[in-house]
Subunit: 143 residues, 2 copies
DNA sequence: TTCTTATCTAGAACAATTCTAATCTGTTGA
DNA sequence: TCAACAGATTAGAATTGTTCTAGATAAGAA
């Protein structure tokens, strides 16, 4: 059951992160964390909230996504210069990115190994190693 | 001398790519390809051109960077959701990215090995594997 | 030359994101 | 319980990087 994130846990997570559990944060938190790992854009989450009958402004969605990211509840994924993705999976892992559709998929961090990394340049410290496997979605085939 | 890109070669490269060697393209091409490998943003290249006394509009800089990229004279590097970088090194390689300063450095492609990549998902083909080593620039130390 | 087109340009338009100033709401402590 | 404050939310304006547009210009062919 360790993968489940029970309903009420969103409240606890916000409190632990020092974030006031407001109506909006709770609603967005549930959309994000109930259910499995997700990759969302601000725009998409905003739409999803509307559809779920939760009224939050786009500005709040942006604020919340950034606050969650600071609190390590989310991770930002940079794969596309047009939009920013946020990932609910904050464990060590990498990504497939399908360029034409814009869809993201996780790759387990333990599966991939990156060897031969040079030392970090002087005056810098390593923050993270990102591996992005870029894919071309092939047009639907008829066998 | 195989690393040099003699002055007149820019002309040849444009011709080979099927691009008319206009004044603007030649000027930008020289800024980009004379000298070593470079990472530029549109904005930065535009400024550089102005300073070099070449008058090109920002729109032309964008057009040219994209045309060069299509012609494989440049490569686009996605590391920062705020701006797009273009890399004059089009051979197989990866990047260091210093997050606070926004500077990019090449990592030889032969040095790094990525192992354990899962098979590409159904209906997709592999386009490229990008490794981005994100660094934190440490504030200047006084020893 | 002259003609045909590709190219260039300034500025408008656009999309994603951030900012602003006013309003609202959680929380705290009397 | 309630007042009061700090923090959160909001609509809309502002900003930023990039693309589009329509008219002016220049490269290459005849």
């Amino acid at each position: 059951m360790s993968q489940d994130r029970p309903y009420s846990q969103t409240l606890t997570r916000l409190r632990d992160a020092g974030l006031r559990p407001t109506r909006q944060r709770l609603a967005l938190g549930r959309l994000l964390f109930d259910g499995g790992d997700r990759h969302v854009t601000a725009e998409a989450l905003h739409e999803e909230a509307q559809k779920a009958g939760v009224s939050v402004s786009l500005a709040t969605v942006y604020n919340t996504l950034h606050q969650f990211t600071e609190a390590q509840l989310l991770r930002e994924v940079v794969v596309d210069s047009a939009r920013t993705y946020f990932d609910t999976n904050v464990s060590d892992h990498h990504h497939f990115f399908v360029e034409n559709s814009g869809s993201l998929m996780d790759i387990d961090g333990e599966k991939i190994a990156v060897t031969g990394l040079p030392a970090t340049p002087d005056g810098t410290t390593l923050a993270r190693v990102d591996v992005i496997v870029r894919l071309q979605g092939t047009p639907s085939r008829q066998p």
